[in-house]
Symmetry: C2
Subunit: 343 residues, 2 copies
DNA sequence: CTGAAAGCGCTTACAG
DNA sequence: CTGAAAGCGCTTACAG
């Protein structure tokens, strides 16, 4: 029972009303609604006119009850809400996923579940069939939400490689390790030899793989791994600032820093400036992500570009395939070195 | 047809399976599901055990088909997506609304509709019954989405006073005019007499009412309204910076600025600093919102606090009442002057 | 307190 | 190409 604009009560028209109005059966109306196959042009016409006259809109609940589909996708962020606003990567990813879904005319529902309570509520909501599948974004290592949704049989694609037991959960990720290698080779090619690293949390795949790339290249170049050159933050700007300060204290002779996120790199730049070190003359700084933060920095950051547009498109593709019955899949996409002013 | 964790196909258990398992009728299972009224403790017990054993989860589509409810609320932002990330007010409002809904155990679905195409898609989605009601956020004057949803009979509450024809749409807003008056009286009480204003867009209610408050207090104080002292921006930081530059050029003798948003006030502070004017010694600056931007500024902003927690709680209250059949309502909440360092 | 039954609004084989 | 009919999984008066 809804109210129309005039405030009067009105029963929304059903397929039955349309059928009567068009002088056909309800089956025929339904066929028109679902693509117009096996319908004569005359009937087609009559039904469309009736739909217009009655202002008919399909009742989603009834349709979904039969098809088992809701024709919508959830974009679930299991992070404190602040993350969404602080980290420009989320902004980009969200926009790209919206666009990728728009190509299929599917609306994206953003779900924020930063607290335990919200995660419980949203898990129940999803499990009950409100969305056909979930694009899951979480930088945390072992996400219980992913586990629960997967157990419940909800089609699911993670952004970034999930850690832990190699479950059968789909994911799409950039090649973190190879990206780190590219940056390190770049820094070495500039003649830098005391290269520090401000890493992300080591309980995240990004933290693990970017560190691995860092070490690999140093070893290949015949350089020692000096643990005083390695610190880690939490991906956020402030932690990059703190990390750079620790590096300067532990290894004052460093001549380059590879920072595992652009946001942390902004903090690193601030700390270096305060310490009177010039970038890139004294210390070269390389970031990771090529997020909007890279261009907003001064000097502009040399960084490793994560192909968010392709990542999003692949996440949507894999998810829709899975909803269609296909098995999970993992997709790894190459990164790209973007040279700017900071190296 | 969903897949379980093992990958095998499995038909999700229905109320029928639970009834058989518990040795009762489906009606009894349904009664347990809906609050357990008129059910014996023994039956209650048996049903709950059967639910646990079968892993039953209610099928939302079937339930919604009957009740006509989806038990979820949409938070719709008809702004370019960037706004969400740039303006800290949205962050606060989103968090507060989430909390207000959580008190009713209702999940919030965030819907971003910045483009024409997205607005069309999401309007159809909402109209089809996916959500029971909409919390609408839009700083624009005449929002066609609001109109369409209202026409379709979707319960709707706007954040901020809608402009234009006084439709019967519910809204919750802070008392912009009174807030502006408080700030102006405060500036006058400090002895300032050449008070400029960086206003928001004049086609928004905020822009109209805050300007009205500004002029009112000046007139009451017997001061001239000098149009060279009034400029307007788009609520964003950059426009505040540009606005302050224009003010300094048009009225170099100004001794205070009332800025219609904290975000623009940040820009104003930057411009004043660049121009070598000290705040508050040379020029006092008052903001509006008391958003996180006010504390992030240097000096910290004196501003007018919008009571976002109450605004959110009222939006939710009015929306739920409307879903329950009540008529629309408008709620205006008082603001509060917060004195900090910039005045 | 409980079961049998009707019905929510749609889709989809099934006969024609 | 089209209609009559079954059925999706649930809730809710209605009798007991």
């Amino acid at each position: 029972m809804t109210m129309n604009a005039a405030g009067g009560r009105r029963r929304p028209p059903t397929i039955h009303d349309v059928a009567r109005e068009a002088g056909v059966s309800r089956g025929t109306v339904s066929r028109v609604l679902n693509g117009g196959h096996y319908v004569s042009p005359a009937a087609q016409e009559a039904v469309n006119a009736a739909i217009r006259r009655t202002g008919y809109v399909v009742n989603r609940h009834a349709r979904s009850l039969i098809t088992g589909r809701s024709d919508s996708i959830g974009f679930l962020l299991t992070e404190p809400q602040e993350k969404l606003f602080e980290d420009p990567n989320f902004n980009v990813l969200l926009r790209c996923c919206t666009q990728a879904l728009a190509a299929h005319d599917i609306p994206l529902l953003l779900m924020l579940a930063g607290t335990q309570d919200e995660r419980r509520r949203i898990t129940r909501y999803i499990t009950a069939g409100h969305v056909d599948g979930v694009l899951l974004v979480s930088s945390h290592s072992a996400d219980p939400v992913a586990e629960q949704l997967h157990e419940a049989g909800v089609p699911l694609v993670q952004c970034g490689k999930p850690m832990g037991r190699g479950t059968k959960v789909s994911y799409v990720a950039a090649d973190d390790r190879d990206g780190a290698r590219d940056m390190m080779r770049h820094l070495l090619s500039l003649g830098r030899r005391r290269i520090g690293m401000v890493n992300g949390p080591v309980d995240t795949p990004g933290g693990v793989d970017r560190l691995a790339g860092y070490k690999e290249v140093l070893t290949e170049a015949g350089l020692e791994i000096d643990e005083r050159l390695i610190v880690s933050g939490d991906w956020g700007r402030a932690s990059g600032e703190a990390g750079a300060e620790r590096l300067l204290a532990q290894a004052p002779d460093l001549d380059a820093v590879f920072v595992a996120s652009d946001l942390m790199a902004q903090g690193v730049l601030a700390a270096l400036q305060r310490a009177g070190r010039r970038v890139p003359q004294d210390i070269a700084v390389g970031g990771f992500d090529d997020s909007p933060a890279a261009l907003a920095s001064s000097p502009e950051l040399t960084t490793i570009r994560q192909p968010w547009d392709r990542i999003s498109a692949e996440m949507v593709r894999v998810l829709l395939a899975q909803i269609g019955g296909e098995d999970p899949a993992a997709v790894i996409l190459p990164t790209e070195l973007v040279k700017r002013e900071s190296t």
